[in-house]
Assembly symmetry: C2
Homo-oligomer: 528 residues x 2
């Protein structure tokens, strides 16, 4: 139990303010600890330190940065049970889930460490000089990716480890060579503090510069606003609601010097069930879908909030199985009281809408902040009158949409806004027949799944956890997987730079043995 949690500002801690915010046990409502709210001076100090540290950190080799990331992973493992206990209490999530998430967090850090050790991610491009070329000689041009500078990361509520203080955004920004200032999410302040201390221990033990990492506590809009508008913050990463993400984006693009905002704002992740699959797999579909909607109390960005099927002979049987399966699901404690309130209000609103049928409810106990799973059913026409039914309702709920025909299905797909994922269940012949549906969906999402469920995001080199607006504010990026590192770098080119002054990645000798595009050809060769 912490008495007063302090800001972590580089290698110092600080608690200037008398104003406090509390860490709350979401299952009991009990206060677990108090945290001092960051003052303007503390914010400035954190960014100032990050800016100074960046001049050192950006020059540190990939191998040494990898050691830092690996040390963070080790330090997190080293916190042992205290981390699990506190994180479960703050988030309401069960032990198994938090242990799994710790594994994922550590795995992500190691994945980026491996990427740095291999080194080719920097996209080195070399065009050698040709003094004989007419009419003008060709200069020597060499380019590679370089980090931006201090990056602001907002901790996310729904992944208190994997997308919070040492989560994917922090790991990828540190890997890119940026210093990081994290705004702790109020839903898990004590967890954040533990992880922040672990990062700092790792920074000290691997001799990283003071200021490579800071962690600040405070009110979202106030502290977030100060940081987003700070002239020395060069980019922002955020995972959370559309409202908060869009507000951050709007602030950032209105700065005197606009900065990129990588906001992953969730989506409805529509699931389409094609006719043959409906006929052949109705039991496993009903089971799999119910599980995906209620997994983690529905608190995933990739939670399937909409299922679309075509009315057919097989449909009533499928709907009945869905009802039966969904009645077996269970609710649970939500991440925060606010999330619970907002879920309940959304459910209440939908329940009261004309044309919206309550198809099934899951089990739950009427305890503090415990969400009850609920499945709604509508006819597709209602989407035209109430397009908000296709918007995300964060929690264990989904809307089953009955379409009249293939044409209707295609119309629904065409009218979709940007989503993180879309899923299609179909037999081989379904998929061929509905190729036009796939063609539309791939233009609406970051990830198109066949015969699966969108929850569960593989952390790998090919993952795209992103998508067109409003799923994210930058459809060119992913926040999961190795490509997430690209968000924090920009290309720089050197013209006629003497070899010895070039970064190692671009030297003739190719001392790091990385892949490079040399005069248009990809190779690992030494340049003579």
């Amino acid at each position: 139990m912490i008495n007063v949690g302090k800001q972590i500002i580089g290698f110092e801690t600080s608690a200037d303010a008398r104003e406090m915010i509390s860490s709350i046990n979401t299952s009991t409502g009990e206060k677990m600890a108090s945290f001092s709210v960051a003052t303007i001076t503390e914010v400035d100090r954190a960014v100032e330190k990050a800016t100074a540290a960046f001049q050192i950190y950006r020059k540190i080799s990939g191998v040494r940065k990898a050691e830092f990331l690996e040390a963070i992973a080790d330090e997190i493992i080293g916190i042992e049970d205290e981390l699990i206990t506190i994180c479960c209490a703050e988030s309401g999530l069960p032990k198994g889930r938090i242990e799994g998430e710790r594994g994922r967090t550590v795995g992500q850090l190691k994945l980026f460490a491996d990427l740095l050790k291999e080194g080719s991610w920097l996209d080195a491009r070399i065009e050698t000089a040709n003094s004989e070329r007419v009419p003008l000689p060709k200069p020597d041009i060499r380019s590679m990716q370089m980090p931006f500078g201090p990056v602001l990361v907002f901790g996310a509520s729904n992944f208190p480890l994997a997308f919070s203080v040492a989560g994917g955004d922090t790991a990828s920004a540190l890997a890119a060579g940026c210093c990081v200032v994290v705004k702790a999410h109020p839903a898990h302040l004590a967890t954040s503090s533990l992880i922040g201390k672990a990062i700092n221990k790792a920074a000290i033990s691997t001799e990283m510069p003071d200021g490579v990492f800071s962690l600040l506590f405070g009110d979202g809009p106030v502290l977030g606003g100060l940081l987003v508008k700070h002239p020395d913050i060069k980019a922002v990463a955020f995972t959370g609601s559309f409202g908060a993400g869009k507000a951050i984006y709007d602030m950032a693009v209105r700065r005197e010097t606009p900065i990129p905002v990588y906001a992953e704002m969730g989506s409805t992740n529509p699931v389409f069930i094609l006719p043959q699959a409906l006929l052949e797999k109705s039991q496993s579909l009903a089971n799999g879908f119910s599980g995906s909607v209620t997994l983690g109390i529905g608190q995933f960005c990739t939670n399937p909030g909409m299922l679309i099927y075509e009315s057919a002979d097989a449909a009533p049987g499928f709907i009945q199985k869905l009802e039966e399966e969904f009645r077996q699901t269970s609710g649970g404690v939500m991440l925060t009281g606010d999330i619970y309130k907002s879920y309940t209000a959304g459910v209440e609103k939908r329940s009261g809408m004309s044309g919206v049928e309550t198809l099934a409810k899951g089990n739950y106990t009427a305890n503090l902040n415990v969400a009850s799973p609920i499945l709604f059913k509508i006819k597709s026409d209602l989407l035209k009158i109430h397009p908000d039914l296709s918007e995300e309702l964060f929690g264990p709920s989904s809307v089953i949409v009955e379409a009249n025909s293939k044409k209707d299905i295609i119309e629904i797909a065409k009218n979709l806004s940007g989503h993180l994922t879309a899923t299609v269940h179909g037999t081989d012949s379904d998929l061929v027949e509905y190729k036009d549906l796939l063609d539309i969906l791939e233009q609406k999402v970051g990830r198109l799944l066949i015969n699966g469920f969108p929850t569960g995001v593989e952390v790998c080199s090919a993952m795209v956890h992103g998508g067109p607006f409003p799923a994210t504010t930058d459809q060119k990026t992913t926040s999961v997987g190795t490509a997430a590192i690209d968000r924090f770098t920009r290309p720089v080119c050197y013209q006629n730079m003497p070899d010895k002054l070039l970064p190692d990645e671009l030297k003739n000798e190719n001392p790091l043995s990385i892949w490079r595009l040399v005069n248009g050809n990809l190779n690992k060769e030494v340049i003579k």
Copy 2:
């Protein structure tokens, strides 16, 4: 001589409006032709056609898109002398320059064609499934780049061929698989019309869809505003002034669905002369710099608008040579009357500022729109009082800044905003001694040149013609070179997609024999 120039809307032409704008011979002020102004209906029609055509064009193979780009190049060459004559008259630029620019334009189109034929640019990434993995099986995940949709390109005044209707932005957007709507620059309407027709001929002969390309004429803010705000426009490319570029950016980020704006807004491109170089190369530096400032009447984004040197024994000799060399330079007709007016006003303002010395003037004849080259000299302290002296003045002018010490040089560098380029002239020992200057400059620019001049931008795979704001609105991109194609695509991933439904780039067989990142390893292998 055209009577009334018409909008090119896919394969149709149209001139609904009575309102006209004129093509002007910038040297004589004579009207060369009238062009009908695009109506709202015509704008909608062009975007509607682009949107429909996109559904076909995005599926066309890289090899066939390459044929289209090569056909555009051939059609441009086929216009022969008419293009050169009209372009010279509208732009005031000499024949040799326009011929060279035509070569560059054609070369760019062919460079992108080659990129498409090779095919690896799509960044294919494949992670194969592993059903044995615990605790959860690994799905099959495959990702690649996909085009956005219709792209709006603003023709630039200063490269009436290479950065206008069929210039780098159009070539890279078409190569990416996007359909393009160009807003013709009012400075060269007849040139634009000729090129637009050439593109359409190429589209027809290579059987591209109607709507893959359109060209509209009209008033900048009105027509530009309609297009930027059009909900079906998915990205914008622009080269021009900070004012216009920033206005476009502000509109685009305030849309209901924000879209990316790639605005290259020019910069001052500071040139630093280090002490030994000043001593050893003063004659060639004076000559080279004077040439770079006045090349193309100073109408380049990379024109060096500031030269910084350290006061030393050798300095007065250098300044004297600079004076002598600059007096040999010549002015010429500027691209438009407005550009001339704005240059003249800027020169007048600087001439009248206390502390600003007029070091030298070039030759010119007092004809219509003819700019006079002028070199100003200031002490570095004045930059603190008048930071606008470090802003771009578009035309054949530059500011010579005398610094007091190395410390002063470093301070100036630290205070720089984002620029397209920075240049350092130094001997080997200078460069070692001023390594900290290079470290600062690489963080301020897209391209760092050693012992050269920034004018002349090599079109190649390693070029970065971009840089931090305010040089551009997206420092992650380049508008010159093959990497410019990346501006118009986003990654999409497929999870467990049947092989036969995958794009060729991601199929097991690797039918296009492209480089792919397979389970983290780069290779061209077939997946078994």
